[in-house]
């Protein structure tokens, strides 16, 4: 410090010690931004300068062009689901990202919307409402439902709310599965939800006689809805209410002391989130043309949370990016022709970026190759069954794989077990000390490739997908508690 300013003590690195000198930390905000030099810093600074409207366009224009560059089937498989996820995650972001309330029953509101629309516009009760009447009714009803669930949360802080809403989500599934058998006191026996069969044959949206039937029309309707919601949320984010929400998220007690009406704001966030979910549910019901009880379970909840966390709490465009990544990457990996180069390319890139200096990288790669041959030799001597299979595909690469990789002939079970261990290892290894990390990387990489060649190349979905997302939540919370694109906020101990 040339100008004689007193030396500022370096903040302690250990994360489990309280941070001293929070004021300095706040004062250094600009400095921390500058820290990213080079490409990353340049990109970040450019991004900061783009006004919100242009950011929305940056997403909306390629999305609008998407149906023109690909087939109808692709639009249905990637496009519609990505947009539904994005809209859902944006709604969840109001509750979790803005107001900091952990709502684990969010998917139930989505289901509530779908069933609500199904009751208003399907042969079940013979109602065939127009969309312009049904959508507002569904949204308002879902928001009211959110109000009811939020009411007991008035007196709860964080954790109770989380489990209460988790229980609510489960209760919703139970109710929907069995509501076909309830007898009401005055109306008699009413089949409200069709039980485990769900409600089929839901009408497509019908605005003033114009039906949204084709995939493309539905896609554009969703896209317009998302853009509207995004604009609305950018506006809310900077409004008085939005700022109050963020204050509430950072510190409810301090917010209350600043005379912010904490309870009312919590309820408001809940109601907004539920309303968005109900809206998305109505759209989803009309697209899927059926409301099934299995669609609104924990699996969807995890997907939405993964999207939101990948995007970063409170970061709107991050969430859209997260939705694209989470919903399209498993789909892309599904066809093995383009999956293999993509996969090994990604691994190589990650190694090049993460493992430095180059002698260490060379050691890791040599260790990997050596480990593979050793494992192959030991396995073929001890358990020949483990090497009798053949790699998928043909060509030099698959041929090389046959001599290097363990390819059991009946690989279902062992690959499943290996997968579970692999995911646990991926969470655990980065937390170990440096030497252990270096030693464990080659076996870990080998395990990755083993699982890839034996399990994932054939099928990705169901349980494997959920395990991956679950591990993603743990790993990301460890690495960056604020999410990939979120801003770290100051934690005052």
């Amino acid at each position: 410090m040339a100008d004689g300013a007193p030396d500022i003590p370096a903040p302690p690195d250990a994360r489990d010690r309280p941070r001293i000198g929070v004021d300095e930390w706040v004062a250094q905000v600009e400095g921390r931004r500058e820290r990213y030099s080079g490409l990353r810093g340049a990109v970040e600074r450019r991004w900061e300068r783009i006004p919100p409207a242009a950011r929305v366009l940056l997403f909306a224009v390629p999305a609008a062009a998407f149906p023109y560059v690909t087939t109808e089937g692709n639009v249905f498989r990637y496009g519609l689901f990505t947009l539904v996820y994005a809209l859902l995650a944006l709604g969840l972001n109001i509750v979790v990202g803005f107001a900091g309330l952990l709502d684990l029953g969010y998917v139930a509101f989505f289901g509530f919307g779908a069933y609500g629309y199904a009751i208003l516009a399907s042969p079940q009760f013979g109602n065939h409402w127009q969309a312009e009447a049904a959508i507002p009714v569904v949204v308002v009803a879902t928001a009211l439902c959110g109000l009811l669930v939020g009411l007991p949360s008035r007196r709860l802080f964080g954790d109770y709310l989380a489990i209460l809403t988790l229980f609510f989500g489960q209760a919703f599934v139970v109710f929907v599965n069995n509501a076909n058998r309830i007898s009401f006191p005055f109306a008699g026996h009413v089949d409200l939800t069709g039980g485990s069969n769900g409600l089929p044959n839901i009408d497509p949206f019908d605005f003033f006689g114009y039906k949204l039937e084709g995939t493309r029309q539905q896609y554009y309707f969703l896209l317009i809805s998302i853009v509207l919601v995004l604009v609305l949320l950018y506006w809310v984010h900077d409004s008085r209410t939005g700022r109050a929400w963020r204050a509430l998220r950072e510190d409810p007690l301090a917010a209350e002391a600043m005379s912010i009406p904490v309870n009312r704001l919590k309820l408001l966030a809940f109601v907004f989130g539920a309303g968005t979910a109900g809206f998305t549910g109505a759209i989803y019901g009309s697209i899927a043309t059926a409301a099934l009880p299995g669609d609104y379970d924990v699996g969807l909840l995890i997907t939405i949370y993964a999207i939101m966390i990948l995007g970063g709490f409170g970061s709107l465009m991050g969430i859209v990016v997260g939705a694209v990544v989470v919903s399209s990457v498993p789909e892309l990996l599904r066809s093995s022709a383009n999956a293999r180069p993509l996969f090994y390319g990604a691994i190589l890139l990650a190694l090049l970026v993460k493992v430095r200096p180059w002698p260490r990288l060379a050691a890791v790669l040599a260790g990997l190759v050596g480990f593979g041959f050793a494992a192959h030799a030991i396995a073929s001597a001890a358990y020949p069954r483990l090497v009798h299979g053949h790699a998928i595909g043909s060509g030099a690469f698959a041929h090389a794989m046959n001599h290097w990789m363990l390819l059991p002939s009946h690989h279902e079970k062992i690959a499943d077990v290996a997968y579970v261990f692999l995911i646990a290892a991926i969470v655990i290894v980065p937390q170990l000390k440096r030497l252990w990390r270096t030693v464990l990387i080659p076996p870990l990489l080998y395990l990755v490739m083993f699982v890839w060649e034996n399990l994932l190349l054939e099928q990705i979905g169901g349980a494997t997908r959920l395990i991956l997302l679950g591990a993603l939540l743990v790993a990301l919370m460890n690495a960056r508690p604020q999410g990939l694109f979120g801003n770290a906020y100051v934690e005052i101990a």
Partner: protein, 309 residues
């Protein structure tokens, strides 16, 4: 009044209640020390049930076990409790400890991730089908009549007695032993405890070990009582264990026991007496949870918490 139905419901309610109480203890102890809801706790219970199943089959299976049933049972309990304890410690070490000073929401989401990971790993590794403890041919479901139509069966008796023994042991441990004293002081004020020379990390690990071991024992008991286990059993059981912990006052050990019994009895009576009880029993428990939170958020034995920063 149909006394025989009432007695039946009471006995099954007490059995269920002891299971929930054992699960609730883990929730409550962890919450008392870390102020963290361990969502994965219910899934640890599920893993315990599976570990017990593997121990049972490793010893020759339920129909013709290689040893006497009592010995097999002892081995099952030891395997499941040790395994679950180690699992709990690992979960704490790798999923919660790095987040101890992160924003409050981060460990909750991490806990959710662990829960999903355990559930789906069990689905992938153990398969989706039910596994059978086959209690009938293992220890027999002999039913005793204690007069006035009060029946109970061997597994039910075993569960209640074992649960009571475990709880007594836990209470003694927490109130008498040195580590128990450290636990109490850590849960009272973690920073002050660490200043007094208590190794807080070790105490937290021990808490996770004990809580998870109790959940593992509960898993085996549920396998014995209900006969069947499956990968998704931990989810609802975890929710109910949490309900029990809240009803008793979260953070309080006797509260967790009483709360477990209340939830078990309430569920059992709801199944028998309320309309559509067997279908909607979970909804009734949920309603009970909301009722308690509205009327007495601190629970039966808990003290109202004055929130500080």
């Amino acid at each position: 009044m149909n006394w025989s139905l009432f007695f039946d419901l009471t006995v099954s309610g007490l059995t269920l209640g002891s299971l929930y109480a054992l699960i609730a203890l883990g929730y409550s102890m962890v919450y008392g020390i870390l102020k963290l809801l361990n969502f994965a706790h219910g899934d640890v219970y599920m893993i315990g049930a599976f570990l017990g199943w593997f121990a049972l089959h490793g010893l020759g299976g339920p129909v013709n076990p290689d040893f006497a049933a009592a010995g097999v049972l002892a081995v099952m309990f030891v395997v499941a409790m040790l395994g679950c304890g180690v699992l709990g410690v690992a979960i704490e070490r790798f999923a919660y400890r790095p987040l101890r000073n992160a924003p409050r929401i981060a460990p909750l989401i991490s806990a959710l991730g662990v829960s999903i990971f355990l559930q789906n790993s069990a689905l992938l590794v153990f398969g989706a089908s039910f596994r059978d403890y086959n209690t009938f041919s293992f220890i027999g479901i002999k039913t005793y009549n204690v007069g006035r139509n009060l029946f109970f069966s061997v597994p039910q008796l075993l569960t209640v007695v074992a649960a009571i023994c475990l709880m007594v042991a836990l209470t003694l441990f927490v109130s008498r032993s040195r580590l128990g004293k450290a636990m109490r002081s850590t849960s009272f004020d973690r920073e002050a405890a660490s200043m007094m020379g208590i190794d807080v990390d070790r105490v937290i690990s021990a808490t996770f070990f004990i809580g998870s071991a109790l959940a593992g024992a509960a898993g085996i008991m549920s396998g014995l009582v209900f006969g069947q286990i499956y990968h998704f059993m931990g989810f609802i059981a975890g929710l109910k264990g949490f309900t029990a912990a809240v009803i008793g006052g979260i953070g309080s050990i006797p509260g967790a026991m009483i709360g477990g019994l209340v939830v078990g009895l309430a569920e059992s009576y709801a199944t028998g007496y309320l309309p559509q009880g067997s279908t909607f029993q979970n909804l009734y428990v949920f309603a009970l949870l909301i009722l308690v939170i509205l009327i007495r958020p601190s629970g039966l034995f808990g003290q109202a918490v004055i929130q500080k920063a």
